[in-house]
């Protein structure tokens, strides 16, 4: 096989609780300069009798523990990480440095506005940059992740109809939609109606027209969609929804493909979320924190979460709480500001040309990979793609090797697998998003690995089916984990 990852010395590491020794510690509390107090006398019955059973380990043990654990993760900084619809692009280190400046990292959300003008200005500017990039009129920065952005967007749509005295009960979403779309609609009490995509993988106006009526509050649509295809009829789709008084929600997960090329606001989208951890390079962090600002049209502005940062006539920045039609607060403070800072810095470093370059290179890379993979893998919908491509395991059907096996075998080659079995409308889907961060040589190495696996599926299917072989763990038993959940460590409870 093409060795992209080689053998290395891997460290074993037990749980912290198993290393615990009474009296050991990794951090000392400072000496007290005030009189000692009798906690029992002060707190009475509320005093905890036993200290919580936390592990007792030294600093070097803690450092080795987490350093060792870190080596068990795949990461963008190790290799291409082609998880579709997740936009695992390179995260510039400058962004990490600026987010740690004390004026950001040690600022408090309830400090008076006069003392946090730098942060308020950053938020005000970021709102305008995101509005320009997306073609939306306003942007709320409060949602802490894309899914919370969806929730906020649907809430604003609901508030818009409430204000007009209209009761609508349905939200439409194509069958290729992310699972968060129907879940966000349901959290707002809407019934979700699925609209089938066409044979060509995109949504067609006639399919929408069949289900669109005055009871539909919104269509939720991802563009480019999860097949990596541009929804070519987007203008007509939006017009259809608008003609019946409905609104269109844009899932911005795949915005990377459109940066500087086209804008959702120009397509007729009324409200959309951004995933700053995807499009704007804030680190994914092992599953978060993300940030999910929401762009909206002027018609929806009265319903934005409060507070909103405004610039006063005197050139000061201030929170506007006086928004009587607002859906309210969505976050304890102002959202995941640490992520907003990183995204702002990213946009500054790219400029207009750099942003457009992201989209161009991301789309070029995805199309290039698709061409390289076509000889060995089934391409369910064979059209030019945007930022990601979807292939399937159909061409391997006679070998008994499935998408899951291919994914696990990719791990042996040093790659994080693509998103698999999604979108749901493609059986055995592998959704590959290389992003703009990869060079041609990097893409070739990845394609070579996938092609080698397809050959191996014919020559030695068992090796593929039993992959991964080079990881410190073999395939993990997920069924066992779900059937008999062990969700915390207990003395003597370990499977080992």
């Amino acid at each position: 096989m093409t060795r992209n990852a080689g053998p290395g010395l891997g460290f074993e590491e037990s749980l912290l609780f198993e290393q615990s020794r009474p009296g050991r510690r990794g951090a000392e509390t400072p000496r007290s300069d005030v009189p000692a107090v009798d906690a029992a006398a002060l707190l009475g019955d509320a005093l905890r009798k036993r200290a919580p059973e936390l592990p007792e380990v030294s600093e070097v043990e803690v450092v080795r523990h987490f350093t060792r654990l870190s080596t068990w993760n795949a990461a963008i900084d190790l290799n291409l990480y082609p998880l579709g619809s997740c936009t695992m692009k390179y995260n510039p280190k400058l962004n990490e440095r600026v987010a740690r400046l004390p004026g950001f990292a040690q600022a408090h959300p309830l400090s008076p506005e006069s003392n946090t003008q730098g942060l308020l200005e950053l938020c005000w500017r970021l709102e305008r940059l995101l509005a320009e990039i997306s073609g939306m009129d306003r942007v709320t920065l409060q949602p802490a992740a894309g899914a919370q952005g969806e929730l906020a967007g649907i809430m604003m749509i609901r508030a818009y109809f409430d204000q007009r005295g209209e009761k609508r009960h349905k939200v439409l979403a194509p069958d290729s939609a992310h699972g968060t779309n129907p879940a966000s609609a349901a959290l707002n009490g809407y019934e979700v109606v699925t609209v089938p995509s066409g044979e060509d993988g995109i949504l067609h106006p006639d399919a929408l027209a069949r289900v669109m009526d005055e009871d539909v509050a919104a269509l939720m649509i991802t563009n480019p969609n999860t097949l990596g295809l541009f929804e070519e009829h987007i203008v007509e789709l939006c017009e259809l929804v608008h003609a019946r008084g409905g609104l269109v929600y844009g899932d911005g997960a795949n915005l990377n493909a459109l940066l500087g090329v086209a804008r959702p606001g120009d397509m007729g989208i009324d409200v959309m979320h951004f995933n700053l951890h995807k499009t704007f390079s804030t680190p994914h962090g092992g599953g978060g924190p993300g940030a999910g600002p929401v762009g909206l049209t002027t018609a929806l502005a009265p319903y934005m979460p409060r507070p909103v940062v405004e610039k006063t006539a005197e050139g000061r920045y201030a929170f506007d709480f006086d928004r009587p039609h607002s859906i309210g607060r969505l976050h304890g403070y102002h959202g995941n500001v640490g992520m907003l800072i990183r995204a702002y810095c990213y946009i500054l470093t790219l400029g207009a040309e750099g942003l457009r370059r992201c989209a161009e290179m991301a789309v070029l890379n995805a199309n290039y990979l698709l061409e390289r993979l076509r000889p060995a893998y089934h391409v369910p919908i064979d059209r030019p793609v945007m930022h990601e491509c979807v292939i399937s395991d159909r061409a391997l059907a006679d070998t008994g090797v499935s998408t899951l096996d291919v994914a696990k075998r990719l791990i042996d080659h040093g790659y994080h697998p693509p998103t698999i079995y999604f979108p749901l409308i493609v059986a055995g889907a592998m959704m590959i998003e290389p992003t703009e961060s990869e060079s041609q040589e990097g893409l070739d190495r990845f394609a070579d690995a996938l092609l080698a696996i397809a050959r191996e599926a014919r020559d030695d299917p068992e090796t593929v089916r039993s992959a991964p072989h080079h990881t410190r763990h073999r395939r993990l038993d997920e069924t066992r984990a779900a059937r008999r959940p062990i969700l915390r460590w207990r003395p003597g409870s370990s499977s080992n």
Binding site: C86, G146, P289
Partner: protein, 431 residues
């Protein structure tokens, strides 16, 4: 590359986008900054925010200044943690997965409950998710809030519940700062109580548990100063069904309010109604212990509109910081630190009692935060503190006007005796 895929130009790649939709101009954004220029621009913005590195800091109110041991940022900055995504592929995500499992275990130890999830956005949304969970479990429609829930948490709860038409009922505050508990409405899904509450008062919780039980409702205890869990009763041991809140105090920077670390733990019987991710132990094909995301059938990517929540990410990196923090301090260290916070507050309160012009309007026991009544106005008192290079606390004018001119003051391990004395002198306006 273009040629190899049969295209002549980059713009041809975007042929699927109708011409009318293509942006034929450059985006109106600032010119590209070099790394050096961008750093200068961001430093200029950062320099215009007061921060806890510059001055003595007594402002908490749900976001607390604590000392951050050096190992946290060193370890949590490792790219293998920061540039990984959700641990869907368990064989190459064991670092993240084992960390989450360790966090779940620590959180159960702190809250006294049996299961904990892999974190939520923040304390406010975690409290809202807990209320939604109680509504699902009891199939009732009323959420009862004890007095003293952080006003922002109350707002977020109202936002979340607005979508499904649940009713919110608020109980009154007792004169000592704690919440008053009477009989709950018969159709209450839950009673939500913050510990310590927004005014710093330590609640007894036992009568809350009894009131909830009598009404067949769940008791939800929300904590936003997680350090207090080391010193106060584990809520799960005195009747809480769900313990949730904010764990920013465990090594996560204040960062202007986010990203922080929402947490949620519950009794085992409510496992299937827990929102968000869970990590469980299992074995691999060779019988070796490992960890995986589990019970995903509750989640949106499987159940779509029937999921327990729409949540998709967690706050993994903040969870990592907190797990490192708790590992460093350990069982004794965390308790000692909590006792030190208590001692600082008690010292400050003792000095308030001796200071002309200042009083303690609420008599309930406190942890590291308390209300001080000031002679003129909260704004004037805080301005005097600011003049002495101190951030003196939160003006309660907009949050609890009935208390008169008053300030919410927080004293963590960072507050020195001398700084406390200077603060009280400034708040009193002495001299």
């Amino acid at each position: 590359m273009l040629e190899s895929i049969g295209r002549r130009s980059l713009s041809e790649l975007f042929a699927a986008i109708p011409a009318a939709l293509r942006l034929e101009r450059a985006l109106d954004v600032p010119d590209a900054h070099s790394e050096q220029e961008a750093l200068t621009a961001l430093e200029a913005l950062a320099s215009r925010n007061e921060n806890a590195a510059q001055c003595d800091w007594f402002l908490g109110a749900g976001c607390y200044p604590h000392f951050l041991p050096s190992a946290i940022d060193t370890l949590a900055s490792r790219a293998e943690f920061t540039t990984a995504y959700t641990p869907y592929q368990a064989e190459i995500s064991q670092g993240t997965l084992q960390t989450i499992f360790e966090w779940q275990t620590m959180l159960c130890a702190l809250t006294g409950l049996e299961v904990a999830n892999a974190s939520l956005y923040d304390g406010a949304s975690a409290t809202a998710e807990a209320a939604l969970m109680a509504l699902r479990i009891t199939r009732r429609s009323k959420v009862v809030l004890a007095a003293g829930l952080h006003p922002h948490y109350r707002e977020v709860l109202a936002t979340y519940l607005g979508g499904i038409g649940a009713e919110i009922v608020t109980l009154p505050r007792a004169s000592d700062g704690r919440s008053q508990v009477g009989a709950l409405p018969a159709d209450a899904a839950c009673l939500v109580v913050q510990q310590p509450n927004f005014f710093g008062a330590v609640e007894t919780l036992r009568e809350h548990a009894e009131a909830a039980r009598a009404a067949g409702a769940l008791l939800i205890v929300s904590t936003n100063e997680a350090l207090s869990l080391a010193l106060l009763n584990a809520p799960g041991e005195i009747g809480a069904d769900i313990v949730c809140g904010e764990a920013q105090s465990f090594g996560v920077p204040m960062s202007f309010g986010g990203p922080h670390l929402g947490f949620l733990s519950a009794s085992e019987k409510h496992l299937r109604q827990i929102p968000g991710r869970l990590v469980g132990e299992t074995v691999d094909a060779a019988g070796k212990r490992g960890f995986v995301l589990t019970l995903a059938t509750r989640e949106q990517h499987i159940r779509r509109e029937r999921a327990t929540s729409n949540i998709c990410t967690n706050q993994s990196l903040c969870l990592l910081m907190a797990t490192i923090y708790l590992a460093l301090l350990g069982r004794r260290g965390l308790r000692e630190l909590a006792e030190l916070n208590l001692a600082k507050a008690e010292y400050a309160k003792a000095r308030v009692r001796e200071t002309a012009g200042l009083t303690l309007p609420l008599a309930a026991p406190t942890f590291n935060e308390f209300v001080v009544a000031v002679p003129d106005s909260g704004a004037a008192a805080l301005a005097r503190a600011r003049g002495a290079n101190m951030v003196g606390g939160l003006d309660l004018k907009d949050f609890a006007p009935e208390l008169g001119p008053a300030v919410l003051v927080c004293t963590t391990e960072l507050a020195s005796k001398g700084a406390i004395e200077r603060l009280l002198a400034a708040l009193a306006g002495a001299g």
